[in-house]
Amino acid sequence: MQPLVISHTTIANSLGLGSAATLASLHTRRSGLVPCAFEDVDLETYIAKVDGLDDHRVRADLSAFDCRNNRLAQLCLEQDGFVDAITAAKDHYADDRIGVFLGSSTSAILQAELAYRRLDPQTGVLPPDFHYAETLNTYSLAGFVSRYLGLHGPSFVVSSACSSSAKVFANAARMMAAGVCDAAVVGGVDSLCLSTLYGFNSLGLMSRFPCRPYDAERDGISIGEGAGFVLLERATAANTPGAMLLLGVGESSDAYHMSTPHPEGLGARLAMQRALASAGLQACDINYINLHGTATKSNDASEGRAVADVFGASVPCSSTKGWTGHLLGAAGVTEAIISMLAVEHGFVPGSLNTQRVDPAMTIDYRIENSAGSISRVLSNSFGFGGSNCSLVLGRQA
């Protein structure tokens, strides 16, 4: 693919608001995971929660969109000078030439979960303050963000579970290549809700402890909430030197099981190989891999095998979910931004909570952080339904 310039990013999660907060937490190895205290959830687990969402409100003119997911989207958009960057982009491109392609797995399902507790006792009708299109519909996020930023380009939400906000990079790249838009806001938001907490619990995939990616004793995920957005623009002679680039994207399907990854990592391997091919790079061109690394037995075994097949043990790898928890539909963009922070600030993030790397892994899995010059990273995101996506990000070779 033609590389695209990632000209601006913003991020918000349990580590704090804005890139600096995430970067500082990565360096100081401070996790965002805390014992679960969310609504009236009675599960023994750890979660990664964004402070202040309960009291935050979306902009008054968009009040119909007010819900936890869109509040988190707005908090994130307010960080890192992102709104100013979009204002400048609107001056440069027409506002109907900037697309909005966002990922979310559950959108604002919490809004429906809470509304079902307040059905009219006589008629069984949902409360009058429930706004379906603006909150529950999966498109809600893109509708809100388009309006908040005043963008009128093509927009949709990709909802392919935990690969959602990685796959939107591919959608944007295609739309720009096809000439449907000239720039795009891509990203994703997922927020805490009862469906995912009780759902993952029912599958036996949730740990009672802070998640331990790639640990021999790993026993499941910790769920988190977070948001991230990037502005993608075409690469030109003027904006490319030194710029952070989206170099390649690879997508694949497992065709194996709805909630268990292919045991030999077939889909994961294909996604990574296609991402390398799309970037025109070899495995040896990659300096760091941000793994999907959910800390379930099956994900890490499957992914570890696939990474070993493609990269051997020559590339430093880690999962940063010990910091952020699993951000589900927001994991892809969050870990893409963490990967770009690693390039920009010259370090390999290690892994939090991992005590002893699973001896069955034959990859260079890093527990400790280390300094190092990193030019290009690969970031993996895999989801239910066997939906896989790998991104290659970094500087021009």
Binding site: D96, S105, I109, A112, E113, Y116, R117, V125, L126, F130, Y132, A133, L136, N137, T138, Y139, A142, G143, S146, H152, P154, S155, F156, V157, V158, S159, S160, A161, K167, A170, N171, R174, M175, A177, A178, V180, L194, S195, Y198, G199, N201, S202, L203, G204, E251, S252, S253, D254, A255, Y256, H257, M258, S259, L266, L270, G383, F384, G385, G386, S387
Partner: protein, 265 residues
């Protein structure tokens, strides 16, 4: 402008039981008579998955398979774009209802089938395909979003794409908040080059500004188009059924629309 060719069509809706029967109705050769959508389990799925398949999965597999058979394509080599306003509305309702009660025992199958890409996951298992698959939502513009994304995949990646759109009614109480009036799915096999199976050439543009969208001539079919997000593709299927050239407009958001020129092959 993106140019692509339709190689196969799938259709399943109320009184539209497959493309052969549906084509006759949509071309005006047969009278439309509404009847409950003839949902059936797909024999493509292994028995365990077949038991777990809800309405969207049945719809998606039926129209995808019909379209792909017509195109004469190998299911393993076709990329997929799924699009739906609601996903699995029955499942979401069931989970919301369970979460109100104690203990909150969400079944594992209900949970993993509640993801918006459940139909995509089951399709990939049934088809044995490792090709890319995406699952989109754009509320009432979900069909338009799916067609836009499919056209981009065909023209940019030179992919052969199955576009599969489906929607079905929410149970109450959600139905009052979001009335979807019928169970309907449609599938299109789209490719970059003309071949002996090609039915028509499509030229697709995303355009700013308001233009009246193309509606169905038959009153009942127009009610179906307006009542089901996935049925916003019916005017395109009607143009394919007629075998005539046509210029269509399908609404997107905020006054935007897709202009689609249909030229029979």
């Amino acid at each position: 402008m993106m140019r692509l060719y339709v190689e196969g069509v799938g259709l399943l809706g109320p009184g539209l039981d497959g493309w052969t029967a549906g084509r006759a109705v949509l071309s005006g050769a047969a009278v439309y008579s509404a009847a409950p959508t003839n949902l059936r389990a797909s024999e493509l799925l292994p028995a365990a998955e077949r038991r777990r398949a809800g309405v969207p999965i049945k719809l998606a597999l039926a129209v995808g398979q019909e379209a792909i058979l017509q195109a004469g394509r190998d299911k393993q080599t076709v990329a997929t774009v799924f699009t739906s306003s609601g996903g699995d509305n029955d499942n979401v309702h069931a989970i919301n209802s369970i979460l109100v009660t104690a203990p909150r025992e969400v079944s594992p199958t209900r949970f993993h089938n509640s993801v918006h890409n459940a139909a995509a996951g089951y399709w990939c298992i049934a088809a044995g395909t490792h090709e890319p698959s995406t699952s989109l939502c754009a509320h009432d513009a979900s069909f338009a979003a799916g067609l836009l994304e499919s056209a981009a995949q065909v023209t940019v990646d030179d992919a052969v794409v199955a576009l599969i759109a489906y929607d079905h009614p929410h149970p109450e109480p959600m139905h009052k908040a979001r009335p979807i009036t019928a169970v309907l799915g449609m599938g299109l096999i789209l490719a970059a080059r003309k071949n002996e199976r090609s039915l028509a050439m499509l030229e697709v543009d995303f355009v700013s500004g308001t233009t009246p969208e193309t509606v169905m001539q038959d009153v009942a079919l127009e009610a179906l188009r307006a009542g089901v997000p996935a049925a916003r593709g019916l005017p395109l299927l009607a143009a394919l059924a007629s075998g005539q050239s046509a210029q269509l407009c399908i609404a997107y958001f905020a006054g935007h629309h897709l202009n689609i020129r249909v030229t029979p092959c």
